[in-house]
Amino acid sequence: MKRFALRLIGPLCALTFLLSACCLGQESVHIDGLCLFDSDHFDESLYVFPPDKQALNMFQEMLAKSGKDLHVVVKAANVPEVAAAENGNERLLLYNQFVLDRFQKEGRQDWRLSMLIAHQIGHHASNHSLTLEPRMRVEIELEADRFGGYLLYQLGATLGNIEGLEEFFQNTHQSAAFPDAHARFKAAIEGWHDGRAEQGGGQGFDPGDDNIPKFPSWPPPQASANMDIPRDLLLKNISRPLVMDAATRLLSALDQAGYGERSFYAVPGGFALVSRIEHIYPDGRPKEGDERWPLTTQPPRIFSLSSYIRALLTSDPGFYRVIAFVVTSRPLVQSGAFTKYSSPRDWVWAGANRLPTTIAFLGYTNEVSCTALIYEFQQVSRNADAILHVPGSLTGRTHLERSSLLGALNK
């Protein structure tokens, strides 16, 4: 009898499983791509189940906090914790029922799991394609981490709560498709500050990206002239622009206007792009050829007897210019601090050659503006130091027109 009963256990279990699967609405699904926070591979067959009401409410609440109108299908699944998935045009948020039950029981105070969920919501909020190759994947994962930090702020996380996640990030599985753990942690902190800034509490926050130097002097020294670059000029026909798009456009304009070297710096809420110092005519036109790019203030050129006599008996002042484009979501205030000639001259050598992803993937929202700060220096004589002209003799627009930058941006 006992043996007979033992023989029946196997088939009964199988039958029970099949019946429960049918009852619970389990279905095997195909997905194009997914994110498991530290992996984009799920080796098992993926099964999804209808979500329970409690879980659905919780996810709807979090999706609403994202501030975006998201059309995401929430499903329970046999994923390890929480995953974002993409299946054609359908965007899915998958969760493990057991993990979520525990989360609910703990009063949603597990910031680690909150970060996991917020990260996956970040993929959908940013409309990421989850089928990207690993090289591109790194960028979107950082953006999702940043959004995760932002959403955690909306959910009531303190800075201490976010900072407490450092160990969690350090312990995540490292792979080529996912960013460095430290960069992810920093991105989450920056996202938290973004959330705080959105509510007016984040003034003065420094992004603090380790991969890019901070602007040498912040707030920036008072410029000789400045000009706000119109958004339409900078971001033509881009529906959801990123800070990276603005940087690309500015780099292209600098290239077209002949500025070879430039440097990126981190500034609160964005970045600064600095051009190399150039020798200009008093009317703002750049000097020709190699004379345009001095490392030291230049003696006048002698072409003829008259130019020799002019050089001997006149001071022949030299004019120099440095242009810094500041793209930031914060109000830009220029300090009155005096700037020595050698300081802006060296800006172009001390920055980064490209934007790090933590800044590049910031959204170019309505709060973000791009301002060109023009530092104009004059050396009254060959014995004098070049001094900053504040205010300068020309307007910001004139400088940008005569340097051909405005023309390049208009193209």
């Binding site: 006048p300 020799y308 001997l312 008996l313 001071s315 009254v380 004589s381 060959r382 014995n383 004098a384």
Partner: protein, 157 residues
């Protein structure tokens, strides 16, 4: 027995190898005043046109000790002799006058060169002037010695 001391043998140079001291002084004065005048005029124009900017004091601090001791001596001696109605009978060897004249001319030329080469030099004018002290200093000693003999000597012909 009378003991006679041997007489000092004195051979006079022919007149064509000598030149009156007054003429020497006036020629040297002419050279110095015209050379220094050109230098000072150039520096005044440059200073007024702000060629040296804030370094103008350094420029004048360089030129005044370079020219004024010798010029001062020349003008003083000329003024002193102008008050004396008698013509000095002193003569100077032409060769020494020639030496003094060319030393003076070379010295003034080097000063002018320091100023006029500035537009062609990549360095700062004041640095150039400071550097020129390396050769102008010893040269000034030689010139001052030669002119000192010619302007202060009272030996009769």
């Amino acid at each position: 027995m009378s003991s006679a001391l041997p007489q000092k043998l004195s051979i006079h140079l022919p007149s064509k190898e000598l030149i009156p001291i007054d003429r020497v002084r006036s020629r040297l004065a002419l050279l110095w005043l015209s050379g220094a005048g050109l230098i000072i005029l150039t520096l005044v124009v440059q200073s007024l046109r702000l060629v040296y900017g804030p370094a103008v004091q350094e420029v004048w601090g360089w030129i005044l000790p370079t020219l004024m001791p010798t010029l001062g001596m020349i003008v003083t001696v000329l003024g002193y002799t102008a008050l004396d109605p008698a013509i000095s009978g002193t003569a100077v060897r032409k060769s020494f006058f020639t030496l003094a004249f060319w030393l003076s001319a070379s010295y003034l030329f080097l000063i002018l060169l320091t100023i006029f080469i500035q537009p062609l030099s990549p360095g700062s004018p004041v640095d150039l002037m400071r550097m020129s002290n390396l050769w102008l200093g010893p040269f000034q000693g030689l010139v001052a010695s030669a002119l000192g003999v010619l302007f202060v000597s009272k030996r009769q012909r």
